[in-house]
């Protein structure tokens, strides 16, 4: 049994089933979709066990060289509280774990978003506009005006009328140009994904058909 060819055929079959969705919803897509959801859920359970629960928790709580670190019981208990939602009576316990997760998320997001998305971007926008030729001066002006008017567009507590309205209009205009440019730019990356899949179908899968029928080399 040539496992390699079987592997290519399995891959090709599920690929074609998923592509059938482009025509319309049909039994082949339903089959592949349900299979994909089930198998990927199974994959991520194993992934979580092998890459997070065992190395980061179990091996810390019960180190191979013996002994027991009680401190690692705390996350274990919190995880059990989450799973306790299954039983309606103890579902309330899961709120404690939720509290921890949301707390860690809020604290971490707050500082990292503020550092990378706010301060670093503001720092990048403070520069001398008068460097380089006329074209680079114009570009720098567009960049600075774009950022400032973009921020004005995001104003909530003032109606977009009068001066604020006009600046916000300049802002949304530059935002639209930015969205158009990044949409157009991404097309090449998406197409190369499709090229990769078709190369698999045309150059890996199709040649196996004559070999299987004993015609080819």
């Amino acid at each position: 049994m040539n496992w390699e060819i079987l592997g290519i055929w399995l891959g090709a079959m599920v690929t074609l089933c998923l592509y059938s969705f482009l025509y319309r919803d049909n039994p082949f897509y339903k089959f592949a979709e349900h299979l994909f959801v089930g198998m990927s859920a199974g994959y991520w359970v194993i992934y979580n066990i092998e890459n997070v629960l065992i190395p980061n928790w179990w091996q810390n709580m019960v180190p191979p060289e013996g002994g027991f670190n009680w401190i690692w019981l705390i996350p274990g208990v919190f995880a059990l509280f989450m799973i306790a939602r299954i039983i309606p009576k103890t579902a309330g316990l899961s709120r404690l774990s939720l509290g921890m997760i949301v707390g860690v998320g809020a604290g971490l997001n707050m500082v990292s978003f503020f550092q990378t998305n706010a301060l670093a971007q503001v720092k990048g926008t403070i520069f001398s506009v008068a460097s380089g030729g006329v074209w680079s001066i114009f570009s720098s002006l567009v960049l600075v005006v774009g950022v400032v008017s973009g921020l004005v567009y995001f104003f909530f507590s003032k109606a977009h009328t009068g001066v604020v309205g006009r600046t916000a209009n300049v802002g949304i205009t530059i935002l639209m140009v930015a969205f158009g440019a990044s949409f157009g730019y991404t097309i090449m990356a998406r197409l190369s994904l499709l090229i990769g899949r078709f190369q698999f179908l045309l150059e890996d899968w199709l040649p196996t058909i004559p070999r299987l029928l004993g015609l080819g080399g």
Binding site: I8, L18, Y43, E50, M100, M110, S149, T173
Partner: protein, 207 residues
């Protein structure tokens, strides 16, 4: 009463993470690092909750013969197949678990990802209509960048690829920066509302 403890935990966890960023001194370094590890363990431990729900939904669908119930066994078998091979054979290369992943799960992921090539085209066809001047700007800048990406653009006018570079380095950067700075303000304000318990509907409590 049932809300006070969770909100207290959220406040402490949030403040620890913030202080861990600003203060290198001992208690916060130890607490901050541990908290991040603990959070990861709780979130990944919770996955059993999800898969139990998945199995429950599909077994119930079969029992009640709901619409498309005939496909539910496929999900259950697919899930058990990966779970059992993963537990028995382990995740090493060329083992059944890895074989199934490389030859079925990964290709399905790549195929769904490649659907974007089709959807980008149909979205462009429908959305890039010059209905108002803002949509016209969206359309022209997308069109110019696409032209700049392929040789035909350079054939028409050799400055077009430069226009693509300009559009991507100036207006695109300005737009992205404005969105990022604005979003960061929203993140800070939402985080504060969470940490100080001003927003509590996510806990299912009356606010």
């Amino acid at each position: 009463m049932r809300l006070v403890i969770p909100l207290a935990i959220t406040f402490t966890a949030g403040m620890i993470m913030i202080l861990n960023f600003f203060v290198p001194h001992q208690p916060f370094k130890f607490l901050g690092e541990n908290l991040q590890e603990w959070y990861m363990i709780v979130a990944s431990g919770a996955i059993f909750l999800g898969v139990m729900n998945l199995m429950h939904v599909h077994t119930r669908k079969i029992r009640l013969k709901r619409k498309n119930w005939k496909y539910s066994p496929v999900t259950i078998i697919g899930f058990l197949l990966m779970l059992v091979t993963g537990l028995i054979y382990g995740v090493a290369e060329s083992k059944p678990f890895d074989y199934l992943f490389m030859n079925m799960v990964a290709p399905m992921g790549a195929t769904m990802f490649s659907l974007l090539a089709f959807f980008v085209a149909s979205a462009a066809f429908r959305a890039f209509r010059a209905s108002n001047w803002r949509a016209t700007l969206l359309l022209t800048s997308a069109f110019l960048v696409m032209l700049g990406q392929v040789p035909i653009g350079a054939m028409i006018w050799d400055k077009i690829p430069l226009a693509k570079v300009w559009l991507m380095s100036i207006p695109n950067t300005a737009g992205q920066r404005a969105v990022m700075i604005g979003a960061a303000m929203g993140v800070v304000s939402t985080s504060l509302r969470m940490i100080f318990g001003i927003e509590r509907s996510w806990l299912g409590g009356a606010d």
